[in-house]
Symmetry: C2
Subunit: 206 residues, 2 copies
DNA sequence: AATCGCATGTGACATTTGTCATCAGTTTTT
DNA sequence: AAAAACTGATGACAAATGTCACATGCGATT
């Protein structure tokens, strides 16, 4: 047994400048130890399958290949003891509900300052859940009115696919796709599919 | 005169977690001094108009209100002696040409590691220009084929505005706008305006 | 002055998109 | 079991979008 209790942390963030800087910041705390640094969710999963689980994983949400939410899904599925803290950007509160249902323990805004992060890690380590107040508030009036299909159609539409292609991707008829998009447009008070996609994305629903 | 030569740095970055972390990272270098930290370009401009110019400004490009490019424009316009180093993301090489024409001295990928950043700051401080190799290469085959008007129209289209609204914004006729968009779609090998906007954005042309 | 090139505009047309009423199965509720 | 709600599909129609050929005007070139 160690003479001193220390909390091990795995940092997952795709921008290495940011990753290194945050690691440096945390390593200055005497009771925190950086177990490893990964540049995306896949690397993190690879790491976790080959090493003992760290106490905490501090991960960005938006990453190529495997996102922070995907990573959260993996951790709960594997039943790891690791506590997950996700970092996100102010403009995307929509992630939070999905994250909470995946058992994420902390939700930090990249807009919050470094003291807050360190404090949050301590609290999560002690068993608390931490969610930035602004995020909690935004998440509350964040009633995503879109159905699964509507979101799927909207997402594809935002990538420039035309109705016919969307229909093929979703195994639906062209008319049905237009119905879904029309519904989405109306629900979001948008003027067309592009506008609707923009609104939904900004809320983090896509 | 100081007994020791030190380089003063102004850090401009909208995500305070990242801002704090980078500041911490740089402050560990004995010959670097953090003059101040700002959360967007406007704050930086306010700071510059009230304080002596720092040796170097290290700024993110994508920020609300006043971007890193806007800040670069301000610095050259005011003829400040400050050297500007911009940070950007891998996926957006299109910024680099605009930045270079604004006299920016350094261009760093957030994907590069912290040693590279520190090295780059030293070099810029010594009078060199520094550009991440990957960015330089990408910038070379980055021939934006779009005209000003085409970009403007595309940008508005990507925000969900309909042809008529775009025409009003640009003081053009509806038909002309459709011509521009049609041209842009064809130039970018896109299937429609959404697709074209997506391609252009990803290259950093919007 | 004649010519060229460019930016802008027009009109015509086919295609795509958005809206709506309605319908047929299926599942859920009562 | 009857009613209601849900999902996916149709067809019809208006509006928006994409394409193209051609006109106009204006500054630069010769």
């Amino acid at each position: 047994m160690n003479s001193k209790a220390t909390t091990t942390i795995l940092i997952v963030e795709d921008q290495s400048l940011v990753r290194d800087a945050i690691a440096m910041l945390l390593s200055l705390e005497s009771e925190l130890t950086i177990a490893a640094k990964c540049s995306n969710g896949q690397e993190a999963i690879d790491y976790l399958s080959a090493h003992p689980a760290p106490n905490i994983i501090l991960s960005d949400i938006e990453m190529p290949l495997v996102s922070g939410l995907d990573l959260a899904a993996y951790v709960t599925k594997q039943n790891l003891s690791t506590k997950l803290v996700l970092m996100t950007t102010f403009s995307k509160p929509g992630y939070i509900k999905r994250a909470l249902s995946l058992g994420v323990k902390g939700f930090i805004l990249k807009e919050s300052d470094s003291d807050y992060l360190i404090d949050a890690i301590h609290k999560v380590s002690a068993g608390e859940k931490v969610i930035s107040t602004e995020l909690a508030i935004m998440a509350l009036d964040d009633n995503n009115p879109l159905s699964q299909k509507e979101m799927a159609a909207l997402k594809l539409a935002s990538e420039g696919l035309k109705t016919q292609d969307i229909a093929q991707s979703l195994f639906l008829s062209e008319g049905t796709v237009r119905n879904y998009l029309s519904e989405a447009i109306s629900k979001l008070d948008a003027t067309n599919r592009v506008d609707a996609a923009r609104i939904a994305k900004q809320k983090g629903w896509l």
